[in-house]
Point group: C2
Chain length 120, copies 2
């Protein structure tokens, strides 16, 4: 399975997948496939969640202690792993949202070139 990687244009901002997963699961416990669809929908169709990014992310988040899963039957009668936030995951969600706000705002400032910065 050798192949060339890296997208023509990245579909998501690196580092934001985890926090989006956490946020999605805070709203409703669901399975991987459902998480992907939910993020795509709530982003207005702008973000595409690739399965090759999603499943490794879920695995590492669970390993980190932020998620747990339970095998259940999906709405469409298929076996699916339903993920849920742990208390630690909730804490991380809050922290990561804060980080996102802080950093994205900072990037915005750099790109904007407001009077604020011209005077600094």
């Amino acid at each position: 399975m050798p192949k060339t990687a890296q997208p023509a244009q990245p579909e998501i901002l690196q580092g934001t997948l985890d926090v989006m997963i956490l946020r999605t699961l805070e709203r409703a416990e669901t399975h991987g496939y459902g998480i992907a669809r939910a993020i795509e929908r709530s982003s207005g169709g702008v973000l595409a969640v690739e399965e090759g990014s999603l499943y490794p992310a879920l695995y590492r988040m669970e390993k980190r202690g932020d998620l747990t899963h339970e095998w259940k039957t999906s709405e469409l009668n298929r076996r699916a792993k339903f993920y849920r936030l742990t208390p630690s995951g909730r804490k991380r969600l809050v922290h990561e949202v804060e980080q996102w706000e802080k950093l994205s705002h900072a990037v915005g400032r750099v790109l904007a070139g407001s009077a604020r910065e011209a005077l600094a």
Copy 2:
């Protein structure tokens, strides 16, 4: 030089360094060290530009054709490489700023959980 990498908390959002460099150089031709200080300042002190990220970035952007450099003497009387945008770099700046706006806005929508998405 074996060492453990990955920061306790990332200082910049991955993928945003290039566009910030381009934006900084659009404002004024300057050298690497100056770019780093300018980004730190215009971000309100939130972003830290590590040299180990900066110089490779400048190198790859120049190789890509978005920058050129010229050795000059800095304001403080030291030899320094002054970077300047190429026309291609200007085009890329516009495009990357658009991308940033689009993607960061999308992440915002996912994290926000507005009524808009609840109704979708």
